[in-house]
Amino acid sequence: MADKNGFFDLSKTTLSRRTALKGMAAGAGLALAPGFVRYSQAQSSAPIRIGFQSHRTGIGAAYGRWYEKTSAAAVKAINDAGGISGRKVELVIEDDGTDPARGAEVVNKFAKQHKTDIVFGTLFSHVVIGSAPAAGENKIPYFVVSEGHHVASTKLNRYVFQPGITDVKSQIQSMAPWIAANAGKKVTQIFPDFAFGYDHRDYLPPALKAQGGDVIAQIAIPPTESSFTKYFPQIPAETEVIYHVMVGPAVLTFVKELGEFYGSQRPQLFGFIDSLEAVDINSPGLEFLDGSHFWEGSPRYAQPDDSAAQKAYRAAVGIDDNGAAVGDAKDVSTAAHMFGCWETLYVVKKAMEDAGYKGPEDRAKLVEATEALKEFAEGPEHPQGPKTFNGKIHQCFGIQNISKVEGGKLKVVHKTKIEDGLYEPEGDYTTQAL
């Protein structure tokens, strides 16, 4: 159609019917060509992008590393089995420095820059609480794996969920019947003087009272303390059980000094493994814990009665029978908590498939579909055990493990029932607008 001078001259161009038909046929052919087909399906076959808010640095780094490993293993398992609604899943990771201000920026970054479908994976409570407003403002579902009571307290917002790990209020409440029946009824609590300790301070006494036990002393230790001997004389002589939840690097000193204080004549000891997550139970100074009991979300050590799902989960994540990384016995995992990442991702899969989730425009549908979930059966998707889910408070409830330190290992001696950890809901997120 170019004239002899090389220029288009539309005035001299006539479009015959044959040319038009040829053009239309060529256009239709092009549209049906493989490239175009792929393009037209791009929206529905593009990967589902999950923004993973990771504690890569800061005080949560040990947890963050294992949360990443577990999540990567879960994503691989989900993708190998066909993904979510046939779409591959992709993790987009940002470090929040275990800092609430940075955490909020990371959520904004996921929502506005990376344009991920959801945000997932946060552990530390102050980061969850600091990031929650950003999730609500961006209307992006925010699935945390924190065990804090903040989600269930209904003080956050409708976009925040914790469907893969039980909350600390439920965990403490579940422990009380076993403690009163097996360890002793007169309990002295020793806890760090900040929020993690306050949960134990506030939730244990009523739960224990209901079982006929009593908290006879509560000793709060300032977080800056590095020596604990001076606090031990405050422990009443009639104490039958010391309930301890010290966390951080001072734990080893705490246990060592407690051992020196009591010698071989000690009361029963009951603790939360949070104190020793990612710490080898056979570290020098921890010998005093032999024979004591711990709460564990999921057991660190492989147990004789482990289900096939539990074995498969451990193999997929890459932890050996001692709960350390396969090939590196010193790299102890955060086994009691990190299963929550695995299970949460399967909850996300279920909710997205229930909602017919296509993209960010369906986020509200995803929220409603998650709220509609009721139960998660034990199995490959939920290897820690069966769970129920309360859509009004966005929190799951499950079984807990009580393990005894025996021969340098943690052996599960009791599993609680889901009902042990249930409590009256404190509010209802579903009344909030989407």
Binding site: K109, S125, I129, G130, P133, G136, E137, A195, Y198, P222
Partner: protein, 320 residues
């Protein structure tokens, strides 16, 4: 500082404000949000700069003034259900009052002792927040619900969670504090502060009440930092003790040193630089703080007086 016409100086500052205004319409969503946060925190740096840059008083406790505003405003909304404007005023008042008390005590010292005393007071403030966890939320903090963060003026209501509203409010606060800082440092009071920084004994000899001037600087600085904290709580909806930790006393010092101490626009540049270096490098490596550290060392080597301080020294002597 070489003389320059006030028109030129004010034109520069108005120009910066106009540029920030225009950026609201240009920036992608994520960066619009980040800029709002940076402007709110640049106010913190400006408050710090008034005392440190102009007054020569190095405090390591300014996190307490920021968090006095943060908690003053946040807790009033959370527990008393007050409106946003009233809470903002309460936040500033808390910071100013705290600064007055701390100033009266800490100004009995100077130099390194002043630094240590302010740091200790800030630590006390931080531990008090943890101690009164039943009201403050302790180390976990509190969320100010979206529904509480709405300002009704006349018939109109402004939702502070709306990105544009938030950006404009942060810009308004930043602009007011920038112009107030500029007017202050060009005023008689500002010149007395510089004189105290350069030679306190001589200033005293000239008949100035240096303690009263320093106290006024502490209170003004504390009030500005509290305004930043109050705005932060109300704009971003989170109140937490990490903002009262030592880290938030060191950050404004870094921002100011980076941008240029005793320059009116330096705090903005320092805050902007630190935020973006962190934001960009954290995408590539978890060792981003190492990169931030190297960047700081390079800046100290090549811009010992901060970005704007060095520019003023070498090329633009008229910069305020």
């Amino acid at each position: 500082m070489r003389d320059a016409s006030p028109a030129k100086i004010y034109a520069l500052h108005i120009g910066v404000i106009a540029l920030l205004f225009a950026l609201n319409f240009i920036l992608p969503d994520y960066h619009q949000g980040l800029f709002a946060r940076i402007m709110a925190l640049a106010v913190f740096a400006m408050g710090y700069n008034l005392l440190f840059g102009y007054g020569g008083l190095l405090s390591l406790g300014h996190a307490m003034f920021f968090s006095a505003g943060l908690y003053g405003a946040g807790l009033t909304v959370y527990h008393l259900g007050w409106g946003v404007p009233e809470a903002f005023v309460v936040g500033i008042a808390c910071g100013a009052l705290l600064a007055l008390v701390i100033g009266l005590l800490a100004l009995r010292t100077s130099g390194v002792a002043f630094m240590i005393v302010t740091m200790m007071f800030a630590q006390v403030f931080y531990l008090l927040i943890l101690y009164f966890a039943a009201w403050t939320g302790g180390d976990q903090g509190l969320v100010i619900q979206q529904a509480s963060r709405v300002v009704a003026i006349g018939g109109a209501s402004f939702d502070l969670t709306d990105p544009t509203v938030r950006y404009m409010i942060a810009l308004a606060l930043f602009s007011i504090i920038l112009l107030v800082t500029l007017a202050t440092v060009r005023s008689r009071f500002g010149r007395v502060l510089v004189a105290i920084r350069e030679n306190e004994e001589r200033t005293k000899m000239l008949g100035y009440d240096t303690v009263a001037n320093k106290l006024a600087a502490v209170v003004a600085s504390g009030a500005i930092c509290a305004a930043s904290g109050a705005a932060y709580a109300l704009l971003f909806g989170y109140v937490g003790s990490s903002f009262a930790s030592i880290q938030y006393s060191i950050l404004p010092l870094l921002w100011v040193l980076l941008g240029g101490a005793a320059t009116t626009l330096g705090p903005l540049i320092g805050t902007l630089f630190m935020y973006y270096v962190t934001d960009i490098t954290s995408g590539f490596t978890s060792a981003y703080l190492l990169i931030v550290g190297v960047a700081l060392i390079l800046l100290v080597l090549f811009f010992p007086k901060g970005v704007l301080g060095s520019i003023r020294e070498r090329w633009l002597g008229w910069l305020p």
